[in-house]
Each structure stands twice: as C-alpha cells, then as structure tokens.
C-alpha cells in the first residue's frame, strides 16, 4: 500500500472568529517529497495541518492523490492514509508502548478481532518497535518515556498506521542534539516513498533533511523552492530580518513551548 501520492492544496483558508489564520494557501507536495514548512510563530503552519487533517473547518481544497480531504471527518481522513503528529506529543500515556502501537495499527480491524485479546505482537508493530528503537521498552507506560522517545513513538504510530502522507508538527522541538540526529535518520528511513511534510523551526535540521521548503508568513505562502533558493529569497530575509542578523540562520527562535 505504498504507492505514493502527492498533496495538492488550493486556496486554503481558515478563519477563526474573523481572524484569518490561513489566507488562500496553494501548496503542492510531490509524491515522495520531504517538504519542510517554516515560518515565524503564528504564521499558520499548525493551522494548515489542522485543516488538512480535519481538525478545523476550512474552505478551498486539499487533495491527497485523487481524494478531496476537506469536509471529511477526522477519522475518515486518517483512513485515507493521512497521519500526523502534534506539537506537544499526544500519546496514550496510560497505555504501554506496545498498546499504543497496536492501537495505531488497528483501525482496519474487524469487530471480531477487536473483541479478542492481542495474541502475539503483530509483525508490523514489531517492525515499528525495532525501527524506533523501543523494543526493549515496549511494556512501559508511554507516559513515562523520555521526551525524545515520545516523539519517536508518535512516528512509530504513523508507521504502523500505514499513513502515506505524514504531517509532522515540530518533531525535534525540545530535543538534544543527539536526539535530533537520531530523529533525522529515523525520518529518512520512514520517509521511503511516503510524502512527508515537516513543520520545523530548526534550521540545521532543515538543511540536512529537507528536499524542498515552503515559507509561510501571516497565513500566506511567502516563498517556495529548494533550501538554497528559499534562503536567497529577499522576501524571506525581510520577514526574518527583524531579529536575525545572520542570514544563514533565518529562524532563530528555535524551539518553543
């Protein structure tokens, strides 16, 4: 089920009580691309992902492959192969790592399977545990994991969920340098022929792992292209210049709460 599909957004607009958080965004992510989405705080990055995954109401269009996503329920969008992580890790803290993954893997299970106990660890779950390096810790409660491990578990959940479009909201925020490296490699392995959109403030991370970059500012697309193209774009420099003298480091706020 890994035939890649692309994400195609047209005229996306999200309004909160009169405040326009996303203002007519067009965005194309090619199948198999790793696209980074950057922009200052409040640019509307998370809101864009919220709209694509059905969490907030939006107008316009967002197609994944052949399928229109807008207007569908959150769980239906997820079943189309769209998976996401959250800015602050959202796990089932009171369940074990294994249970978290098993639930993520199971949306397509029959009622009969649901009503029975889990026998052996399913293959895809075992594989995901291996991939995210948590095999040893599979029986601990997710709530007791370290911050980095939580983010990896979230990525593992996307893996077993068999999502073909991954939307990651600041996956390395708050991580140590080593954890970032590990996360980056994990992303590389997970990406495969999936289509990936990463929201990130960390520029080193971006340079190492991005295929292409879109810059969002005040709800609009400011610039788009390869890392080099975007960094050379005077509009981008202008937006960031207020507080970044080092042009190589356009976004310096780094991680946020």
């Amino acid at each position: 089920m890994s035939d890649a599909a692309g994400l195609c957004i047209r005229g996306l607009r999200v309004v909160f009580d009169g405040f326009v958080a996303v203002d007519g965004v067009d965005l194309d992510v090619a199948p198999g691309d790793i696209r980074f989405l950057i922009g200052p705080n409040g640019a509307g990055k998370t809101t864009l992902v919220d709209a694509v995954t059905g969490l907030v109401k939006a107008s316009g269009s967002a197609r994944f492959g052949e399928q229109e996503l807008l207007g569908r329920d959150v769980h239906r969008i997820a079943r189309l192969g769209v998976g996401r992580t959250f800015q602050t890790a959202a796990l089932f803290e009171e369940l074990t790592v294994l249970q978290n993954l098993d639930i993520a893997a199971g949306a397509g299970r029959s009622p009969w399977t649901m009503l029975r106990r889990r026998g052996a660890v399913p293959d895809d779950v075992a594989y995901a545990l291996e991939t995210i390096g948590l095999t040893e810790r599979r029986d601990v409660l997710a709530g007791t994991l370290a911050h980095g491990q939580k983010q990896w578990l979230e990525i593992g959940m996307l893996l077993v969920q068999n999502a073909r479009l991954l939307l990651l909201d600041e996956p390395v925020a708050g991580m140590s340098h080593e954890e970032r490296e590990a996360t980056g490699e994990l992303l590389g392995r997970v990406a495969g022929d999936r289509t990936v959109v990463v929201i990130e403030h960390d520029m080193d991370f971006l340079r190492r792992f991005a295929d292409t970059v879109t810059v969002l500012h005040a709800g609009k697309v400011l610039s788009e292209g390869t890392v080099a193209q975007v960094q050379a774009d005077p509009k981008v420099q202008e937006v960031y210049l207020g507080h970044a003298t080092d042009q190589d480091e356009p976004v310096s706020q780094g991680a946020e709460a």
Partner: protein
Amino acid sequence: MSALTNPRARAWLGFALGAVVLFAAAPALLTDFRLSLLAKYLCFAIVAVGIGLAWGRGGLLTLGQGVFFGLGGYAMAMHLKLADAGEGNMPDFMELYGQLDELPSWWAPFANPVFALAATVLLPMLVAFGLGSLVFRRRVRGAYFAILSQALAAAMVILLIGQQGTTGGTNGLTDIEGFFGYDLDDPVNQRMVYFIIAGVLLALLALTRQLMNSRYGELLVAVRDSENRVRFLGYNPANVKLVAYVVAAGMAGLAGALFVPAVGIISPALIGIVPSIEFVIGVAVGGRAALLGPVLGAVAVAWAKTALSERFPGTWTYLQGAMFVLVVAFLPGGLASLWGMVKRRREAAPPAPESTERVLVKEVAA
C-alpha cells in the same frame, strides 16, 4: 505458585472462588432473609459492573443507569403482573383505578414471556443506543453527557408517576407473586432466584473481563484519555463509546429484571436521580477501573445502607455524602487502588511517589 502469577490461571481461580462464595458459602451461612437481601445487592452489583466498564474504562460518567434498570425492571414486572392476573385479565392495579376498559396496547406484547425477557435487555440497549449515538457522534462534551443522562432519569420518573393509570404511578408495580409459574412466596423459589442472579453476575463478570482485556478494552481506555488522538488514527470514538454505553445499559436492564422477582417491586423511587447516582458511588468506592472493585463496592455500600439507614437515617446520609467526597476527591482509584498500593509495597517497587492517577493506570495496564 505459578497459578498466582499467571493471569489466566488467576482469573480462573478467582471465578472458582467467587462461585464457591456465592453458590455454597452464602446459601449455607445466611438466613433466607439475608440471602434475599444479598440477591438484591447482587442486582446492584450487576449494574455496577456495567458502570465500571463505561465510566471506569470509558470515562463515560453515566448518572442515569436507573433509567435502564427501570426499563428492565418494568418490562419484567409487566410480564409478571400479566401472568399473575391470568390470561385476558388486567393487572390488579388497573382494575383498582378503574380508568381503563381494556389493557393498553403497549402492555399487550409483554404477556409473551419471550418478548418480555428480550425487552428487559434490548429495550435499555435501544434507548442507550439512541441517546448515545446522538450525543457521542456530535461530540457533546463529557460533562454534558453526564447531565443529560441525569436529566433523562428525572424525565423518566416524572413520566412514570404522571401515567399512573398504566404504570402504577408512584407505587410502581407491586405485589408480584409468581415468577414464570413459580410462587415467589416459597423460600425455595426465592433461593432459585438468588442462584439465577449470582449466576448472571458471574457470567457478566466473565464477559466484562474479556471486554476489558481485549483490544477493544485497550482502545476504550485510549478513547477515555485522548479521544481526538484516537480519531487521528482512523477510529470513530463515537462507536467505541457507544459499545461500552450500550453494554452497560443492557447489564442495568438485566439487573432491573432480576431485581423484580428478588424484591417483588419496581417503582419510580428505585430508578430516579438519587438511586442512579447511588449506583455510581458503589463503583467509586470499590474502584471504578477495576473489574471486581465495582462489584464489591456496590455490595458493601448497599449493605451499609441497609444496616444504617433504618436505624440512623440521618447518619447514613452524612456518611454517604462523606464517602462521595472522600473517595472521589482523595482516592479516585477506590479501594481497589489501596490493594494495588499494598501489593506494590510488598513487591518493594522503587519508592517513586505515585499519583492516584498512575494507580488507575496500573490497573488498566494489568
């Protein structure tokens, strides 16, 4: 010792122990009167098992289980009243009020025992399905659900009282004499009713244990803790909650149905707001997320109520209120969590200070 560590063996052992207590020890040790009281408590325990599933595991605070208890109870009582009256006659209270010339049409099908028995379980499940699917699908918040379930209990009681001619009003349906041909005045038959109730309780415990340990049970906890996250994984949480709510309603209905032959009455006072919330307190005291906690809590609270409320009604009310306050505020895992704490201390676990929340978790994970 391996029997004590293997969960499956332990469960069998537990059930065997429960069966011995309920089927051998209790009937041997208790007088007929006390045994019939126990039968009543076990009916409450059946309701509690369902609440434990829906509330403890699913986070659905249902303050209106009395509605389902009542539906089951009234369905059963209607059949028994009709059977007592005999073919073609109206139940005694209808004759007494003398407002009706013939049996109301909605009473008629309950003359059929199969219909009535099925209705005791299916009717509550149907109502729960209706309310649950409307409320859960539209993501009405949990607190609103609690209030709505309580309002339903209030409305049902007012409806029953208002339709005195066909429902017996405040008195309810009383003086039930026979139970499918057996005379309920005969202590032997009362014992039989007790055994049926005990058997149903054990069977439902087994069913609930299976549900809690199944993948569905894990998913239910996931929905309780983070409904939206579950949604992003491709599940519809409404359906997950609906199953727990409907199962709990079915259990309450069955309990109500069994309550009628055990006690001989069903009335609005047994199913309104206050009894509905009293079902919840037993569960809270015993331990909402544990399997056995609700059962033991329900029996203990009901027993304490009988023991105290007749002689010291005021004291009992204070005690009941205090139980709500102390248990829910300071020991949300109920008495079952004390047991868990003791066990862990004995296992000399690392002395990390654990919040009560965590205790709930441990049970869920176990």
